[in-house]
């Protein structure tokens, strides 16, 4: 199945809103760190419901905020969730970004980057599209150190890239970024039941759930375009 087919189904199921709710737990911290100045142009890669764009407009007074997604249904839904005239959506693929050189000040991506068919090339594309000195904030829950995520590939038809922390740093550098930061951003909002309630439907032990959310959380890699 293609990205379009897979994620059109998700959008039709309403999974865009479910993801927004769960991802917000860590994405809000990531977005807060971005050095976006009032009036600057931001890009959200694999925007889903588009919540990141709405947040950057509200909290940082971003100028124009564009969301790219490979799923027309995701983009259609996202467009309905806002009537902010400075927020716009584009259907497109990570590997061939339809944006001019240096046209974006800062880019963000949550739980989407690893779906790129050629992630090294996607990073090169980002380094081309983001102006020198602009940032790419790349946030993922699916990565090598998060052993609890390894099985996710089984439930999805699109091939996923599972880099570790240092593979992310190396790939950023190879593509033309300076690496400015890498961090595990904990999910402090998800409720973790008391020990007596384990095993739950999803978690064998409380320790595993604590490790997944509070310790590993979301892997953030921040690149600055050279």
């Amino acid at each position: 199945m293609s990205v379009r087919e897979e994620f059109d189904t998700w959008a039709a199921d309403g999974r865009d809103k479910g993801m927004e709710e769960r991802h917000w737990h860590t994405a809000k911290h990531v977005l807060a760190r971005m050095p976006v100045e009032a009036g600057e142009t931001v890009l959200d890669l694999g925007t889903g419901s588009g919540y990141a764009l709405r947040a950057l407009r509200d909290t940082k007074n971003a100028g124009r905020a564009y969301g790219l997604d490979g799923s027309p249904e995701m983009a259609r839904n996202a467009r309905e969730y806002t009537d902010d005239p400075n927020v716009g959506f584009v259907v497109g693929d990570f590997d061939e970004l339809p944006f001019a050189d240096d046209s974006v000040d800062h880019a963000f991506s949550m739980e989407a980057f690893y779906y790129a068919a050629d992630p090294e090339h996607t990073l090169e594309e980002l380094a081309r599209v983001v102006r020198p000195g602009g940032t790419f904030y790349c946030a993922v829950n699916y990565y090598e150190e998060n052993v609890h995520s390894h099985e996710w590939q089984e439930n999805i038809s699109v091939e996923m890239t599972r880099w570790n922390r240092s593979e992310y740093r190396d790939a950023f550098r190879n593509a033309g970024f300076y690496v400015a930061e890498q961090d595990n951003v904990p999910d402090l909002d998800i409720e973790i039941p008391p020990a007596a309630e384990f095993p739950t439907d999803s978690w064998q032990t409380r320790e595993a759930m604590v490790e997944r959310y509070r310790t590993l959380g979301t892997l953030l890699t921040v690149g600055v375009v050279r």
């Binding site: 983009a75 259609r76 584009v90 693929d93 001019a100």
Partner: protein, 61 residues
């Protein structure tokens, strides 16, 4: 899409400029139309206000 989006959009295939053809617009948005690659001649649809700039082999018209 707002017309100002044209400032930053380009043809995904070769990053050359796009030409805009409008079929339908409301007060401040283009709702239906197409973007045409000035070099590639490729036609990208605008549907329900959203431009579809997937490379042609990934698009499903």
């Amino acid at each position: 899409m707002k017309e100002s989006l044209m400032d930053i959009l380009c043809d995904p295939l070769d990053k050359s400029d796009l030409e805009l053809e409008v079929d339908e617009r409301d007060d401040d948005e283009i709702l239906e139309g197409r973007l045409i690659g000035t070099e590639t001649g490729e036609v990208y649809p605008i549907e329900d206000g959203i431009p579809n700039l997937l490379p042609p082999d990934m698009r499903d018209d």
